[in-house]
């Protein structure tokens, strides 16, 4: 029993220590990195291409299928009550409030976060980060900051793309295949989806997830043990922790944003 408590305490302390290091790391990236990127925006743009633009395909295709499934399932339920006219509202609200930010963040951590962790971890393993330090170049500014800000900038845009394509998918299935009225689909959506409450809150969520996922990804890479096994573990941790953090924070944010209903 005492042993169990000891291990629990050990784990807790280890976790807190890591959280502390991650916070110092992020403070350093934010303080040092932003100024450097304003001077050399090309570093940021090339990372936005790798992290954001190259994720467009997976996010778009996933959004389309999620929207189509929502259209189908929504129609089955709503038509029982004769309420299939409100399919547009259901599809759009689900996507903009929840599925857009959450699923995009999960996809983003699998596609871009894992790549960031592996890349930074390998740069550490092959002494590239130490080499930069010895050339008097701060790797947090030169390597980590552009990747972090690229992730933060890309996530809300990708989530918006996901929701947009998803609505198109729902429209295609609901109106195109199942015969929901075209005008009702859009007009109900327009009437019931509130710009601030739904759209802006969704964008805030996706921005928060962007910070969380990219932070975890770059920190795990930077903190990886400099061996093949270390990088592989860090990559796994990056995706697993991101999933936990996104789902946990989604609950918190949802409670805060939509809790007064």
């Amino acid at each position: 029993m005492g042993d169990l408590f000891q291990r629990l305490g050990h784990l807790t302390l280890g976790g807190l220590r890591k959280l502390g290091r991650a916070n110092f790391f992020m403070a350093h990236v934010l303080l040092g990195g932003l100024g450097g990127l304003l001077v050399r925006p090309r570093l940021l743009l090339s990372q936005i291409f790798f992290v954001g633009v190259l994720s467009v395909l997976i996010v778009g295709v996933s959004g389309l299928f999620v929207g189509m499934v929502l259209g189908l399932q929504g129609y089955y339920v709503l038509s029982d009550f004769g309420a299939e006219q409100t399919l547009g509202v259901m599809v759009a609200a689900s996507l903009v409030r929840e599925l857009g930010p959450v699923v995009t963040a999960l996809l983003f951590s699998g596609r871009a976060g894992s790549a960031l962790t592996a890349e930074i971890g390998l740069m550490k393993t092959t002494e590239q980060l130490a080499g930069m330090e010895m050339m008097a170049v701060d790797p947090l500014r030169r390597v980590v900051a552009p990747r972090f800000f690229a992730g933060v900038a890309s996530m809300p845009l990708l989530a918006a793309l996901f929701s947009m394509v998803g609505v198109m998918g729902g429209y295609f299935v609901g109106v195109g295949l199942l015969g929901v009225d075209d005008g009702a689909f859009w007009s109900q959506m327009k009437a019931k989806i509130d710009f601030y409450e739904d759209v802006v809150n969704g964008v805030i969520k996706s921005a928060v997830f962007g910070v969380i996922v990219t932070w975890i990804a770059v920190y795990e890479g930077y903190d990886a043990a400099p061996t093949a096994e270390g990088v592989s573990r860090a990559t796994t941790r990056s995706v697993v922790y991101s999933a936990f953090a996104v789902l946990g924070w989604d609950f918190v944010l949802t409670a805060l944003m939509f809790g007064d209903h």
């Binding site: 740069m123 092959t126 002494e127 130490a130 080499g131 330090e133 010895m134 050339m135 008097a136 701060d138």
Partner: protein
């Protein structure tokens, strides 16, 4: 041949250095002096912390006691900005080369120039080509690091290390894993660059023949202390059994062939142990 000289002739001095790696004591009161314009070698068996010593000199690790003075500045008392200024005048050649894998050979050599200077592109191009010419790889400027052999990667890294015309270069195991030709090229480069650019070189290595052929002065480190020092000739002719074993590469001697273990016979008979 080189000592005694006044203390100000030393570009780098390591004083009473103590460093632990976790529980393990790596250095136990080490004193070293690296003279301006000379090639000084640090030799010793694997695992004696030779690379750690370079990291301590470069300020990447902090000692638990003692000081490292580079150009009369205490490396570990400098603020981050001052340390980075000092590092611009230090080149370091990593064992792996540590080239940035997403940049071409040309861009790797240009990297410190682009980061630390605002030179026009034409000047950067000329400087990079001059540095690459010095290591014989001007023709390889468009290759990516993955297309280079180990020896070529180290030569590119060397060109990058001298890009900002440093005062000194730290070489971490420059000869390890090289074929005889690359080894010869690296030996020649280290010696020639040291002479022609007036550099101070610190070479960490356990390749006895090559290191003794280029060094002006040698320190032998083992078990956290300096076990021998002197000119290459003095080291090669040393009467100490340990130094003789190291220089000649004998399998057994003061450094035993066997890692410490319980009695062989008792061990084989098991004595109830699982392993």
């Amino acid at each position: 041949m080189t000592l005694p000289l006044p203390d100000d002739a030393a570009l780098v001095s390591v004083r009473d250095l103590v460093f632990y790696h976790g529980e393990r004591k790596i250095f136990d009161g080490v004193n070293l002096r690296f003279l301006k314009g000379r090639v000084t070698a640090i030799m010793g068996p694997s695992g004696t912390g030779k690379t750690t010593l370079l990291k301590l000199i470069g300020g990447q690790l902090r000692p638990h006691r003692g000081a490292v003075l580079v150009d009369s500045a205490d490396v570990h008392r400098l603020r981050t900005g001052e340390l980075y200024e000092l590092r611009k005048r230090m080149g370091m050649l990593f064992q792996s080369g540590a080239l940035l894998t997403d940049l071409s050979v040309f861009e790797n050599v240009a990297f410190p120039l682009r980061e630390h200077t605002r030179l026009p592109e034409s000047v950067i191009r000329s400087l990079v080509l001059m540095k690459l010419q010095a290591v014989g790889l001007r023709g390889a400027r468009d290759l990516m690091p993955s297309q280079l052999s180990g020896g070529m990667a180290r030569r590119v890294a060397l060109a990058r290390a001298i890009a900002l015309d440093p005062l000194m270069i730290l070489y971490d195991e420059p000869f390890t894993g090289q074929d005889p030709i690359s080894m010869g090229v690296l030996v020649k480069l280290i010696r020639d660059l040291n002479r022609e650019l007036g550099l101070t070189s610190i070479v960490v290595s356990h390749d006895v023949k090559e290191t003794l052929s280029i060094a002006d002065y040698v320190y032998l480190i083992s078990g956290g202390v300096v076990v021998g020092e002197g000119t290459p000739a003095a080291i090669a002719g040393s009467g100490s059994p340990w130094i003789r074993q190291f220089v000649h590469g004998d399998a057994d001697g003061p450094v035993p062939f066997h890692f410490p273990a319980p009695d062989y016979r008792a061990d084989l008979l098991g004595n109830g142990r699982q392993h």
